[in-house]
Amino acid sequence: MTYLRAVDPFPLQSADQTKLAEFYARLATGRLSTTRCAGCGRMAWPPRAFCAECCSDRFDWVDLSAEGTLKAFTVQDTGLPAGFTGPRVFAIVEVDGLRIFTIILDGGAGSPSIGQRVRLRPLRVADGPAGDPRWLPAFAPA
């Protein structure tokens, strides 16, 4: 008996499941966004519905640049979890001063390099439980 992937590895993204649904709605249209605390003005990555600085639970959505800089990466060849294939480029990308963990798509198009410009490329993953399309904030060489 094997029960690999009898779990959903992707976040629930619809408004009936998360207060952060707006992030995914914008992502589906190619926009990268995050939250800004309505109390103290602090921008956070990833988006959050509670400010760890001032404890406010009020926030506004702000769009971020769709381009960023590759700050660090590693290529995983083997040992990936079931359903994910290598080589996979895991990376830290800096966008508007925020450090974002992501993957770089099209890694086979040439070896990535630190300092390289990368651009948001939303990655469609398996649909949610209600058949809703789901997206992750991946990047690709700009």
Partner: protein
């Protein structure tokens, strides 16, 4: 606070085991009881069980009670499970320590157990994604290797640490494991084997990584009075520290080659124990990946920042060196059954500081240190001594 000591310890055979979750508990429990002649399960006042993912592997919750019943322990003072990813075992030891130091209990077992290869090792790789952030990290397929690979890349770029120096950690710990009959691996490894093993996540190759392992370990913690009744050679808990930098990769300090939380945890433990890095004779550090052992040398003060590569290459963390690191084989050689690891590190200190470690004994070891982490951002350090203070 009252002094607290280890009065007993035992470890089961680590590996891809043909044994169930409960059977691993029985094996470690038996090994631990066998180390304390005259101690019976019903003498214990409590049990803390460190275990990370039995809900996913054994499809089982309510772990501490299962283990208590399996071993015949009837807790009257403390019964709890700790889940704290890879540091679950050490966090459990801290709980039992605090209870006994505060006078709320006198005799408590801490047991760590993980049955990862159920039904297969691949299932465990999938489950390991629960240890990083599901929504913002694991959804991309992230597990532990790329996190530590990022630290290795940074260390190499900043300090000139080489792939060969990383490999030497693998050689040392695989070689040490040949002297530990309970280790997952027993064949050792040459530098060439490590450098030619397959790439997992650049620059970390297979023999620089800990494997997916089943295992369990147990220790008995006791107040000074109870410890001296049970043994003439208690091993004393001298200090402990724990600190957190962050959970997500994007919230850790940008320089992944620096682990400030480990430095803080170590300093807290040293201060409490009244010792410094040079006093440590033997250490079990959390070499989940070779880079973690190198950074641990630095943050724990065994060498200066950036000099860990030459430290291992000069043999200063091997037999006869400044401090013998991972004599039992570490996580790379013994395997890393998550919840069991911190407890197995404590069991090694129990053996080393009583001169009972056989062919891997560090001669005259008087002060020992363990380091157990949960990712790069959270660390637990324990210091043990042959003498109470």
């Amino acid at each position: 606070m009252r002094p607290v000591a280890l009065a007993g310890a035992g470890v089961c055979k680590f590996g891809v085991r043909q044994a169930s979750y409960r059977e691993l508990i029985w094996e470690a429990g038996k090994a631990c009881f066998d180390s304390v002649p005259g101690l019976r399960p019903r003498d214990l006042e409590g049990l803390v069980v460190g275990s990370v993912m039995p809900e996913r592997t054994a499809f089982q919750s309510h772990i501490a009670s299962l283990a208590a019943e399996a071993l015949g322990i009837r807790p009257t003072r403390l019964s709890a499970r700790t889940e704290h990813m890879c540091a679950s075992g050490s966090v459990g030891i801290r709980y039992a320590y605090a209870f006994i130091a505060a006078g709320l209990a006198d005799l408590v077992m801490v047991l760590g157990v993980e049955k990862l290869n159920q039904p297969s090792g691949a299932e465990a790789v999938l489950n390991m994604g629960t240890g990083v952030d599901r929504e913002w990290e694991a959804a991309f397929g992230l597990t532990a290797p790329p996190c530590f690979a990022l630290a290795a890349q940074r260390h190499m770029a900043q300090y000139g640490t080489t792939e060969e120096q990383l490999a030497l950690v693998g050689v040392k710990n695989h070689t040490h494991a040949t002297r530990n009959p309970n280790a997952h691996f027993g064949k050792g490894a040459t530098l060439e084997q490590v450098l030619c093993s397959r790439m997992i996540s650049s620059p970390l190759r297979l023999y620089m990584c800990s494997p997916i392992t089943d295992g369990a370990a147990a220790v008995v913690l006791a107040s000074a009075e109870r410890a001296r009744e049970l043994t003439d050679r208690p091993v004393w808990i001298r200090g402990t520290g724990q600190a957190l930098d962050g959970f997500q990769l994007s919230s850790l300090p940008e320089d992944y080659a620096h682990w400030p939380a480990l430095k803080r945890a170590g300093e807290a433990a040293y201060r409490m124990a009244g010792v410094g890095p040079r006093d440590v004779d033997v250490a079990e550090v959390h070499d989940c990946f070779a880079i973690a052992e190198l950074i641990a040398y630095e943050e724990l003060g065994f060498c200066k920042k950036g000099e860990s590569g030459s430290f291992v290459a000069a043999g200063r963390s091997d037999d006869g060196g400044d401090v013998v690191v991972n004599p039992r084989g570490g996580l790379i050689g013994c395997g890393h059954p998550l919840g069991a690891t911190g407890v197995a590190q404590a069991a090694e200190m129990f053996a080393q500081l009583r001169d009972e470690a056989g062919s891997r004994q560090v001669p005259g070891a008087a002060v020992g240190l363990t380091h157990n982490n949960s990712g790069m951002g959270e660390h637990v350090v324990m210091i043990y001594g042959r003498e109470p203070a």
